[in-house]
């Protein structure tokens, strides 16, 4: 059967199980759009190509499948760069397809020609230019395998316009992937394995550091079994949240820069750390020279390049998290670490006293109240997609996730503007799920154009803007480290509810605590998107905080009294 390159692409995507493509057309990709119109693929027209990549990313994170984004050459492709880097840093399987000028014009600075494979080389797992129609099917199939195997990541496929237009025989068998034959390393090192077992069975104050790798490996069950057999408490990275139920008594919560005090202190006191599918990012370790100095360290990680990168470990097991934990299970003894656990949780009391939830109701609205109420009303069952900043950290602290893939957030790159588009992607992937966006007034203004996409696609998500009138997290740094010189952080915003209305979206504004729950409840009942503008305390800060580069146990704590109140009177 002879098809054009564009038709071959659509047919290949269809056969690979793709249902949704997030994209934006333009000259160099137009043949593909023409073919898309004749296919069964559902194309979601975004408002900015950055949005397309975040949507594909959100789609991938919500399901574990590959998300697909599409754009034209030149500016379309460069607009994808932030989204691609976001997916790269968080190991998200995204395939980006870009149009490119015709192969005859390559290198001539043709209209809208840009070397997008050169630009994205360091921020993709792999990228490739296709200039021959015969290569399209095979290369796209390979791209999907690369994106979602091993440690997943984004792959960019740049297809010249002439390759899209030319015709070739379409033969599924003949276009089978032919990835280079690589050396298969035998990663199993019995010595390391035995040492890990020994450390696990003899530790007195062990702690597991759980990361996103557990989710990527689909190892939640095995992990739970491992935790309960060994009776070892679990601290989570931001991206690990959800891989182990928050309701489990052994789940301590998030660690790191804004981790709870008892978690960070436990890490510093532990005699053994078992890192699973995490990479000792500087946001979780603080000053490396004084990081967990009492602890031996075991690292279970699929990516060999992560071993000993930031933290030198005593035993490294390279491999899939689920397989490794399953292999370890028969060797580890049933243990009882209740004494250690009691020690850790004994310091929770102090934190509770400082907790904003426990402070007397002053009538002022705090972000933490909003998020805590959102958690309660949704019974922790929603998919929450956050942006980047204070609200992101409060979400991690106050929304307790019990299921994997229910917190979707940009961790590694910390990309403002991620939330709204990523939530659209998550909703397309999981139409049955209740999806909430938790976003700051700053980040929302970066990609709010996607409200139009929501309307055009008739998508039902709920948007909670945590509106503090500042670029909150940066303001917090200015408060702590720059003597409250608030340079370029006070932020004017439109009336978000009215803005939503202008898009045809229902908008609400909440200024008092008592209105939080009823407004959330009403929004949930609607079968359409609702935006709620929560006007919260302006100069509240996220506590505890480990200053960048400080020791993990050196935390700035919330002053327990009195609270600084700065909100304009409701």
């Amino acid at each position: 059967m002879k098809l054009t390159g564009a038709e071959i692409l659509c047919e290949t995507l269809t056969r690979l199980g793709v249902k949704h493509i997030f994209g934006y057309p333009g000259g160099a990709i137009l043949p593909v759009y023409d073919a898309l119109g004749k296919s069964k693929l559902h194309h979601i027209l975004v408002r900015h190509e950055q949005g397309a990549t975040h949507m594909a990313d959100g789609y991938a994170r919500a399901t574990g499948g590959v998300g697909v984004a599409m754009a034209t050459s030149g500016p379309g492709a460069t607009n994808m760069v932030t989204g691609i880097a976001t997916a790269m840093l968080d190991s998200s399987p995204v395939v980006c397809i870009t149009g490119q000028v015709s192969s005859k014009l390559l290198g001539s600075d043709a209209f809208q020609e840009v070397d997008i494979t050169g630009i994205t080389m360091p921020i993709t797992k792999h990228n490739v230019v296709i200039s021959k129609v015969e290569d399209i099917a095979r290369t796209v199939r390979e791209a999907f395998i690369i994106a979602n195997s091993g440690r997943p990541g984004p792959v960019l496929v740049d297809i010249t316009k002439d390759a899209q237009q030319a015709s070739a025989e379409f033969d599924w068998e003949a276009s089978a992937p032919r990835l280079p034959v690589k050396r298969q390393r035998n990663n199993h090192d019995q010595e390391e394995f035995d040492r890990a077992v020994e450390l696990l069975n003899s530790a007195k104050r062990p702690l597991i550091l759980a990361g996103r790798g557990i989710m990527l490996s689909g190892a939640m069950r095995t992990f739970e079994q491992f935790v309960h057999t060994s009776d070892i408490p679990v601290a989570m990275t931001l991206l690990g949240i959800g891989c182990f139920p928050a309701s489990d008594p052994l789940n301590l919560g998030m660690m790191g820069m804004h981790g709870e005090a008892w978690v960070n202190n436990a890490i510093q006191e532990a005699d053994l750390l078992i890192a699973v599918g995490m990479r000792f990012d500087d946001r979780v370790t603080g000053d490396l020279r004084v990081y967990a100095r009492n602890a031996k360290k075991i690292h279970i990680e699929v990516d060999r390049a992560e071993i000993n990168k930031n933290v030198k470990v005593d035993a490294a097991i390279i491999g899939d998290a689920g397989e490794t934990l399953a292999a370890l299970l028969p060797h580890i003894h049933e243990r009882d670490h209740s004494e250690w656990m009691t020690h850790i949780t004994s310091s929770k009391g102090d934190s509770a006293v400082r907790d904003i939830q426990s402070l007397p109701d002053s009538g002022h609205l705090y972000a933490a109240h909003v998020i805590n109420d959102l958690w309660k009303v949704t019974a922790g069952n929603a998919i929450v997609v956050t942006d980047v900043g204070q609200h992101q950290m409060w979400e991690a602290q106050y929304y307790h996730h019990n299921a994997p893939r229910t917190l979707i957030t940009s961790g590694g790159l910390g990309t403002m503007g991620f939330a709204l588009p990523a939530a659209i992607g998550a909703k397309m992937a999981r139409p049955d799920a209740e999806v909430w966006v938790v976003v700051g007034d700053g980040g929302f203004q970066m990609t709010m154009c996607e409200l139009a996409t929501i309307v055009q696609e008739k998508i039902n998500i709920k948007i909670a803007i945590i509106n503090n009138g500042y670029l909150g997290m940066v303001r917090q740094w200015q408060e702590f480290f720059y003597d409250k010189r608030y340079v370029a952080t006070p932020l004017v915003a439109p009336n978000f509810a009215a803005l939503a209305n202008s898009f045809g979206i229902h908008g609400e504004t909440v200024t008092t605590r008592k209105d939080v729950v009823p407004t959330i409840e009403t929004a949930r009942k609607s079968d359409q998107t609702v935006l709620i503008d929560f006007r919260v305390e302006q100069e509240d800060s996220v506590y505890p905080m480990v200053a960048a580069g400080a020791a993990l146990n050196d935390m700035i704590r919330r002053p327990n009294n009195p609270l600084v109140e700065t909100a304009t009177e409701p």
């Binding site: 797992k125 195997s149 034959v181």
Partner: protein, 174 residues
């Protein structure tokens, strides 16, 4: 200095990827050589990098993550041969030419071109040996020099071959 040998797909852009990776890891390269192997589809690289063992391990592991890198191995600690090749154009006149020739002989260099006012020496060997020759030629006036950068090979039975050409198993996207 760490020496890494890599087998890569012999196609455009691969050198760029390898160079881009080392730059991203903030590892300085002293020399990078690449040439075909007996299999035209595969090229062999020798990368000499200014880093410690930990850096080399990370570079090696990161290289292997590139789709087009078939194998990367740090051979710094193994018995191995290293060779660098240089062409050196040195000023020479009637008078000092015999003396020059003597010196070149000591270093087992070869004179491959002679002109009235200069000659070209070809010399191969370890970096130290070539540096040594350079040192003695310098007073005569080194006019031009081209060096290949190191190539390296482990000795004896320690074989470093590209992965066997078995057909890749048909995988499907998850």
């Amino acid at each position: 200095m760490q020496t890494i040998v890599a087998y890569v797909q012999n196609k455009p852009g691969v050198l760029n990827r390898v160079a881009s990776l080392t730059r991203r890891l903030a590892i300085n390269i002293d020399s990078l050589t690449v040439g075909p192997t007996e299999n035209v589809e595969i090229a062999r690289m020798t990368i000499c990098a200014h880093t410690d063992e930990r850096g080399a391990t990370r570079l090696e592991a990161s290289l292997e993550k590139l789709v087009d890198v078939l194998l990367a191995e740090n051979i710094s600690d193994r018995p191995m041969l290293e060779r660098d090749l240089a062409l050196i154009k040195v000023a020479a006149d009637q008078q000092n030419r015999p003396h020059l020739m003597e010196l070149i002989k000591v270093f087992r260099g070869r004179v491959v071109d002679v002109a009235p006012e200069s000659l070209i020496v070809e010399v191969s060997g370890t970096v130290d040996k070539i540096d040594g020759l350079l040192e003695v030629l310098r007073p005569f006036g080194v006019l031009e020099m081209a060096r290949t950068g190191r190539i390296a090979m482990t000795r004896g039975n320690d074989l470093l071959r590209p992965p066997a050409e078995t057909p890749a198993p048909e995988a499907t996207a998850k």
